[in-house]
Symmetry: none
DNA sequence: TGCTAAGCGAGACGGTACGTCGAGTCTTGTC
DNA sequence: GACAAGACTCGACGTACCGTCTCGCTTAGCA
């Protein structure tokens, strides 16, 4: 009505409280980390733990999924910087980051949510893949393709399949493996798998 | 007094209906296959779809977890018979069974449930692992150890790690790979991975 | 089929157990006396307290009402014998029987049931009135009419109204009056009411 | 902090809806009038008929009794004004109000409930007596005592007993008498009973 | 003495209502 | 106009009985 629009129009009235927003996200992650799935998670519990009214949540996110996606997104560690020297080292760096991500309670829950709610909440999965999975996938692909180019890996390598092997192994380990993954896990995986990816004679 | 006890004494009263039991399991699996997680799943819906009173469900299973475990357990395909000739062939057979298991809607849901509810419902996971995961793990281990013994695989092979690579790759593919997994997937995985497991010189 | 009907045909098979029947009635009355209404009363509770299967109850009574009617019917004290000398004495006798009937836990409950379930369970009421109320009403009417005939009561007495006054007063007392009705209550009521029923001059 | 407290501080949050409250009471009375006792009465039915969630009922009344008491309390007609001229006229006025109260479906049900649930739901009875019975009892007592004072009634009258006679007669009639009580019933009762209460000689 | 038919206790069956909890929405007064 | 508080309708929870239905066993008279 009286928005004169000097650039980004500041809406009338009291601005939204960033403190509330942070409290909501934190409460959500806490509850997820305490073992709740998207469905066990109760908006009422989040509101209560965050010291916030339910309205304040629904004003920002129209449903649980959206809130969960945003909460999980704040959690993923940034991609580690790659040395770019050898393929082996870069792979170990990447896989080790995955191991670390799954090493703590929260990270493990992120994976659970991501993997389990796939069929149930397609939009959640879609957004999660876009934000968290794709960047890692892209980095992995780049390293492998570089390896093929530099001759560190065999020229006929099925890069997609190789990605599946590397990622899948790490995920499987963090899911079904021993509670605390050994520190040199990434190294050992890369070494074993690389053997099948190395050029025939070398 | 007049219990003659020919082995297991039949308890007094009307015996439980096997038909009802089957209907409940079927309804549960149907609903899971339609995309419901353990939490979205409503006992009321199961009862209604099975044409059964809620009491009849609660009489047998005291909570949702127990029911879901029993339902999932009826679902897993039996282990495929192994030819036992070459390690490569047996591995392909095993991995292909995993691919098939995950190829249909129900199988995929089984995995989702199993993987997602792990932290949330520890008893569910425990029982599921015991019934479904362990037998497959054991078979895989046997094949690999046989390969080491016969010299088809390198003598210093880390069998546990190899198992993780094989299983993880298949799981990852069925989770994040294309909708319909290619028929020769198992073969390609085995071939690539075997390269790193074969004896050094041969 | 082979009933030859020598008088009352004994049906084939095991005869019904009188012990069970008595136990059921007793259990029913116990539970009513413990403050349950026709609706709070649960067949399951009756069966359990009587040490009897539910079938055994339903075989005899097709619904709760019928059972309750039969149970209550066993409870009413028989009408007291009337001296037949003076109207005043006979009235006191009758009213005192009503007082005694309502003086104990069970009797009071009978009245509660009878009065409360009237609109709800018309058939119950109907049968209860027929068995328990009518005989008393008839006795009262006879005494009053005899009084009119003998001149002990005024000739233009509205007998029906007089009955209502006498009965109603007793019922009201047993319902809203003090817990233990005074022993001479009937006498005092009759005396006060008779004053209005006596012949004008006398 | 900022509660200025102009008398009774309004509690935080959305205030309770009076409309819902009225709808619940109305639905309750409707169902009672349709012949349901306290026990047949289902909260679910009340909620559904009132177009209200069950929670909204349980938020206000913690059990059926409390709801029923409140519902019945809204029903009782206010005490009729008394002319205060003659005892006879005032008694007729009071008794006629009782007759009218019991003349309609709802009123009759009120009495049924009140009388039947006495032993079963002591708190219900207690509160009902306090709200509905006591005021009438008090009015009746005052008229009778005035009559004794003015000499319209005999000086040695047992007022309590007289009250029982008058009230009991009316209740008995409305319970066991003909469906539609005659219009002059109160008059006739008072006249007959007064005869026994009038001063000896006059 | 053994057969047949009904009664018996136990208890499972498909249902209905209970009283509780949380979802997502709406409605207050305050900031 | 955002905020906390909390009432709103709705629907699932797990429990208790309903009245019906098997079960295997008992109890009688008739053969």
């Amino acid at each position: 009505m009286t928005i004169q629009g000097t650039g980004t129009a500041r809406p009338a009235g009291r601005p939204r409280s960033e403190k509330a927003e942070r409290a909501i996200i934190e409460a959500t992650l806490d509850l997820i980390a305490e073992g709740m799935g998207v469905s066990e998670l109760s908006i009422e519990a989040i509101a209560s733990r965050a010291g916030v009214g339910k309205t304040t949540i629904y004003r920002r996110w129209s449903n649980k999924e959206d809130l969960v996606v945003d909460a999980l997104a704040t959690l993923k560690a940034p991609l580690p910087p790659l040395a770019g020297v050898s393929v082996r080292e870069d792979l170990i760096t990447l896989l080790d980051a995955m191991r670390a991500d799954s090493g703590n309670r929260r990270g493990r829950c992120v994976m659970n949510i991501a993997m389990s709610e796939a069929d149930r909440h397609p939009r959640l999965t879609e957004r999660f893949v876009e934000r968290a999975v794709e960047p890692r996938r892209r980095a992995l692909r780049e390293v492998l393709e570089r390896g093929v180019a530099t001759g560190e890996l065999r020229p006929d390598l099925d890069v997609t399949l190789a990605m599946a092997i590397l990622s899948g192994t790490m995920m499987w380990q963090s899911k079904w493996g021993p509670g605390d993954l050994p520190e040199d896990l990434a190294e050992r995986v890369v070494d074993m798998v690389l053997a099948g990816m190395a050029p025939p004679a070398a």
